[in-house]
Amino acid sequence: MSTRVFKVWRGDSAGGKFVDYQVDVQEGMVVLDAIHQIQRQHAPDLACRWNCKAAKCGSCSAEINGKPRLMCKTRLDGLPVDQSVNVAPMKSFPLIRDLVTDISWNYTVNKKIPPFTPGADATFLMRQRDVDRVQEFRKCIECFLCQDVCHVLREHDLKPQFFGPRFLVRVASLEMHPMDTLDRLKLLKDEGGVGLCNITKCCTEVCPEEIHITDNAIIPLKERVVDKYYDPLRIVLRVLMGTGQDGGAAEK
């Protein structure tokens, strides 16, 4: 049995450091197994979130060798063998302790998004092709790795002005639902800050569910916002026809 050195961030909002731990490596081991071993053998108080251990709940998000990933899905044999393994908490959220961060901001954002609102006469007869897009977005396990890696939040810290990729995906799942009747484009443009996204696609790169966040959710939303607010011909047409701003709402 071989051993690997894990450098795990230990500390809280006041400060901290990377602490080295020796881990016995078993075949097929993932980073979360190593963290559990450290808890059992060296540091029972090492704080980390996890639940399903099967990449289905999105709890064990961390930055492994600098990359935002799920610990339960990151195999040790996929990391450089000759180096130690670096495990740090998500950087975009306030640190609570060790690998645990305060992600409550995400829940407050979700509350701002008006929920699914079907018409009173909605039949709910929908073909598979009508729900394919929505189902892709609903695969999201809310690991918030996309929020962590998004530079608008990570580097520019614009949380008050920007929903982040996760909740743009959420809005897309509502806007593209065939039975939904609300129009969230104004919210998206103003409070949601969809214009702050510069589509550099890191969210798509880190998504463990392989949702095409940028191409299938954010860009189509940007185009819908263009329809309503930026397309000069449409604006002129609306003024001429006197339909006002709502005339540009997505066609149902």
């Binding site: 400060g15 990359k67 740090a88 890696v149 860009i219 185009e223 263009v226 997505a250």
Partner: protein
């Protein structure tokens, strides 16, 4: 823990815990786009050697098509390529894929995922001038599609060779193939456009609710397939358009002989 440092406040250009060579990709993009920029500006500046007519051929460089100066009989103090080039340039500059890649490679915003950025005083994304103009991408698509029609005409024209007697004969030269491949690459890029994907069907919430919606769903599906490889099409077509110009230019300069595979007389 008195000696400890807080990593979480640590920001700055290139600061990351990543262990891989994250800087290679943006560097290659930087070099690739810069090289194309330098070459295309130089080629457009020349104002000659854009048309090869040797041995009955008619190969027109995509940088110089359509030949608007002939339509209006213009005499310009600069190369007429500049009357055309702003369209494909604008189309690419506002393209969602290119935006991604140059925001990364040229603005380091971010250079790579989870890598620190240089200090920005104010980040506005695409909400303020000039980047708010990215929102008119669809208009560049419309214009670029018109240009693309001319390029298809040019590619077709390149398969006909004028004999000494003045008759046109179908044939294939290396140049004809180069121009055909180029216009196919450009089409693959253009018709995978994200704006087009939205306009043909993406804006619909229900794909089954009317006959037109069902038809648009089919087109949306085709555009989506191209869109999946939009980045690859972007690079292939970028190189193909540059190399096509270079090929025609070298032929016109007499540096390179254009091989004719066959001509049906």
């Amino acid at each position: 823990m008195a000696e400890s440092v807080s990593i979480l406040e640590h920001k700055g250009f290139g600061v990351t815990q990543r262990r891989d060579n994250w800087w290679i990709k943006p560097l290659l993009v930087f070099i690739g786009l810069s090289a194309f920029g330098v070459y295309s500006t130089w080629a457009a500046w020349q104002g000659d050697n854009f048309l090869f007519t040797g041995h009955g051929a008619y190969y027109l460089s995509p940088f110089y098509s359509p030949q608007v100066q002939l339509w209006f009989g213009l005499h310009l103090p600069f190369s007429f390529a500049f009357l055309i080039l702003w369209i494909p340039l604008g189309f690419r500059a506002t393209c969602y894929y290119y935006r991604k890649t140059y925001y990364r490679a040229f603005f380091a915003d971010p250079a790579a995922c989870a890598v620190g950025e240089p200090k920005h005083r104010h980040y506005h994304g695409e909400r303020k001038f000039p980047f708010i103009l990215q929102n008119i991408h669809r208009y560049f698509f419309y214009l670029a599609t018109i240009v693309l029609l001319f390029l298809w005409y040019d590619a077709a024209r390149a398969f006909f060779f004028r004999s000494a007697a003045g008759h046109l004969h179908f044939g294939v030269g290396v140049g004809s193939l180069v121009m055909l491949i180029n216009v196919m690459a450009l089409s693959g890029f253009s018709f995978g456009c994200n704006s087009l994907r939205h306009l043909v069907g993406g804006k619909l919430d229900c794909f089954s609710c009317s006959r037109t919606a069902r038809a648009r769903y089919k087109i949306w599906g085709k555009v989506s397939i191209l869109n999946l490889r939009h980045a690859e099409w972007a690079w292939v077509s970028l190189f193909s358009v540059g190399l096509t110009d270079l090929y025609i230019r070298l032929c016109a300069m007499g540096t390179l002989p254009d091989v004719r595979l066959f001509i049906i007389k």
